[in-house]
């Protein structure tokens, strides 16, 4: 993974000193609330219902075991002993004290971490595929490009006061595991007609109140132009994005208002001024970035032997077999797999992880996966490089720690925002809804029968829980002061990205598990062969689901 040099370290250290001074001035009354607001947000600090919330950047989801141990220490020492993995691969603390935040940032800086630009109206953490570098369907490792974007966007002087927040995601594989269509900018590494890899650039995707799928602004861009082109897009947005209404301030609204052709023309005009300038990437820089993401020293393994041994194990111990099928992902190197650690055990807020579990995962990363861990935008964690022969012992250790829930990609692996329990913007709670669904559908055999299914819950239309792109989406709404839930169907976050359609009138919290059960029963009765929920839905449409759910509700 990327290792800081003296320059990176100096920037992060100076940032800590700056924020320490800002916090001191704020507490001394030398900075007003209005002045401190953007300053604290750009260091990841929200003020929420119960306490401030601190969002720590995990650049493109990559963590070393030393960093994970530091996070465990921070949650123990400065918080209540648990942390939360967010849908943008970051880590959140729910209970820090403002006065201690500068110390937390200093602790983070000691392991090459920070909270820079994890909220506020600036360029946020760049995200990518959690299987980057190991996925079999990858065209090129996206992480060097994410790191190049990270450096360019960190403390960018021109783009710290944008109309609204700005999110970039990079995808480099056949399957899109980074939801690039739902980002302000989505970048996909793709070959051109001559077979040379470059970037397809999407712009104006996003969720929130007005969900939009991104439009193509550039079909293919030579790699060396990446930063100048991004800069041109940001400059058009910074100058022309709406600032009079925060709900219309995202770039998606600008792209819609201008039309993608006019937007492209404006970008091209800006780019003409920046193109081939000093920010044009050099061979040396790309080589340097790539040098941090070389393969670890994989063992030379006979994949066939290892596979057979594993199959025998799975047959002998079906509980292990379930986990193996659901929670491991093929690896490009024979004899290895990527393991997803589910943070979706029933009864625990989705994405929450305790200090002890973090410590354990750091140890497991050292023993089984070259000392690295990853966070996923589905709020789980990944050990990306595990030898197949070691999977059984790894699984046993995960099981003891409550980290072996075998549900990755299935209904109970749901995405959920903090909702009304923590968030002051919420219309409704979301964590109890998640728990009620997980409790209702605990029967694993039934879950596996249903096949891959994504259920996403947000506590309000800000859509932190990605409800628009869930196959089933649940959104907290306010109905005359009471908490209700609107259900949508047919969203998707992959290459066939789609925004879900609203089923009909909203439901009370108690009714949600029944509603989900009815939706699933409808699916099972109409399903042909091995269809997934989404395939059946796309074939039959929303009507049969509607009929069943509302017939029962009457």
């Amino acid at each position: 993974m990327y290792i800081y040099d003296q320059y990176d370290q100096r920037i992060v250290d100076e940032r800590v000193a700056q924020f320490r001074d800002q916090t001191r001035r704020y507490l001394a009354g030398e900075l007003s609330d209005a002045e401190f607001l953007p300053l604290r947000l750009q260091n990841g600090l929200y003020v929420q219902r119960l306490a401030p919330m601190l969002r720590i950047a995990v650049p493109y989801g990559l963590l070393s075991s030393a960093q994970v141990r530091k996070l465990a220490h921070i949650t123990r020492h400065y918080d209540k002993g648990y942390a939360h993995v967010s849908t943008r691969q970051n880590i959140q603390l729910n209970w820090p004290v403002l006065e201690e935040v500068p110390d937390i940032l200093a602790e983070l800086a000691s392991v090459q971490m920070h909270a820079i630009q994890t909220s506020g109206n600036c360029i946020r953490n760049t995200t990518t595929d959690q299987f980057a570098g190991v996925a079999a369907d990858e065209r090129e490792d996206p992480r060097p490009w994410c790191e190049i974007i990270r450096q360019w966007s960190t403390l960018h002087p021109e783009f710290a006061f944008l109309p609204r927040k700005f999110k970039i995601a990079v995808c480099a594989s056949e399957q899109d595991r980074a939801a690039i269509h739902a980002h302000d900018i989505g970048v996909e590494l793709l070959p051109n007609a001559a077979g040379e890899l470059g970037f397809k650039v999407l712009v104006g995707g996003g969720l929130g109140r007005t969900p939009v799928i991104g439009s193509v602004v550039c079909e293919w861009l030579e790699k060396r132009h990446l930063l100048t082109y991004l800069e041109a897009i940001l400059r058009v947005y910074n100058q022309h994005g709406r600032r009079d209404n925060k709900y219309k301030a995202r770039i998606k609204i600008l792209v819609k208002a201008m039309g993608v052709e006019a937007f492209r023309d404006a970008v091209e005009a800006e780019w003409a001024q920046l193109r081939d300038g000093p920010s044009t990437l050099t061979e040396d820089e790309v080589t340097r970035a790539k040098s941090f993401f070389t393969s670890p020293p994989y063992a030379d393994i006979d994949g066939k032997d290892a596979g057979e041994a594993l199959a025998a194990r799975a047959a002998a111990d079906p509980i292990f077999g379930n986990w193996l099928t659901r929670n491991t992902h093929p690896h490009r190197v024979p004899g290895y797999r990527a393991v997803t650690i589910s943070l979706k055990a029933t009864g625990i807020a989705p994405g929450d992880i305790t200090d002890r579990q973090l410590d354990l995962l750091a140890d497991l990363a050292d023993s089984y996966s070259f000392g690295e861990l990853r966070t996923t935008h589905q709020q789980n964690m990944v050990l990306a490089d595990v030898e197949e022969t070691a999977l059984y012992s790894l699984w046993q250790r995960l099981q003891k720690a409550g980290l072996a829930t075998a549900n990755i990609g299935y209904l109970t692996d749901l995405i959920c925002c903090p909702g009304g329990d923590y968030c002051s913007l919420a219309n409704a709670k979301s964590i109890p809804v998640a728990e009620a669904i997980q409790a209702r559908f605990e029967d694993l055999d039934y879950l596996y029968d249903l096949g891959p299914l994504e259920l996403n819950i947000s506590g309000c239309m800000n859509a932190c829980g990605h409800h628009h792109i869930g196959h089933i989406g649940i959104l907290g709404v306010d109905k005359k002061g009471a908490e209700f839930y609107q259900v949508s169907l047919g969203g998707s976050q992959s290459k066939d990205a789609a925004i879900g359609k609203i089923l009909g009138p909203s439901f009370s919290q108690d009714a949600i598990p029944d509603v989900v059960e009815n939706l699933l029963a409808t699916f099972v009765s109409l399903r042909q062969g091995d269809e997934t929920f989404l395939q059946t839905y796309n074939r039959v449409g929303i009507e049969p689901f509607k009929e069943r759910v509302y017939a029962k509700a009457d």
Binding site: D5, Y7, R10, I11, E14, R15, A17, Q18, D21, Q22, E30, L31, A34, E35, P38, L39, N121, Q151, W152, T154, L155, H156, P157, E158, F159, A160, F161, L162, L227, R235, N238, Q239, R243, Q273, L274, G277, P278, S279, L281, T282, D284, E285, R288
Partner: protein, 159 residues
């Protein structure tokens, strides 16, 4: 006289914010862009831009201007950062002055975008503006005061 920062020192001069309501440009007030446009023969050697003004309008007149002021009516409106870089990239060499309601903690970014004079609406904390102007000694991006991005300077170091 209002205080401002120029060349890392606190000083003062006569310039006051533009008065958009008037047809005439009052003495010591910056002209607005429409007032500047209305003056014949490019006789006015200063102008004050507001968010929403089209910077390109000045493109042919840059060497006739001694001061371009860019106003920040609220600290969260970051359009002026892009205006500054745009003006410098187009070759403007005169004074580029940030005016209005920006805060001390923004001076560092403003300077990197090409501003070289800072005239906050409230000058009672002017020392703080000076103190916050150089809180970082290193940066990743190319910018007006450091035209080479860090990656090119790293390469030069590595030889």
């Amino acid at each position: 006289m209002p205080k401002l920062i120029k060349q890392d020192t606190i000083c003062s001069d006569d310039w006051l914010a533009a008065d958009a309501a008037s047809d005439q440009v009052a003495q010591h007030h910056f002209p607005t862009l429409p007032q500047w446009r209305a003056a014949t023969g490019r006789t006015l050697r200063t102008v004050q831009l507001q968010p929403g003004d089209v910077v390109a309008e000045l493109a042919d007149a840059l060497d006739t201007l001694d001061i371009i002021a860019v106003d920040f009516p609220v600290l969260t409106d970051g359009r002026g950062f892009s205006y500054a870089r745009d003006l410098r990239e187009r070759g403007y060499r005169g004074e580029l002055r940030a005016t209005g309601h920006f805060m001390p903690d923004q001076v560092h970014y403003l300077r990197r975008c090409g501003f070289d004079a800072f005239q906050p609406a409230d000058d009672s904390r002017i020392e703080e503006y000076l103190r916050q102007s150089r809180v970082f000694s290193e940066q990743y991006q190319a910018s007006v005061d450091q035209p080479l991005p860090l990656f090119r300077r790293r390469e030069a170091q590595a030889g």
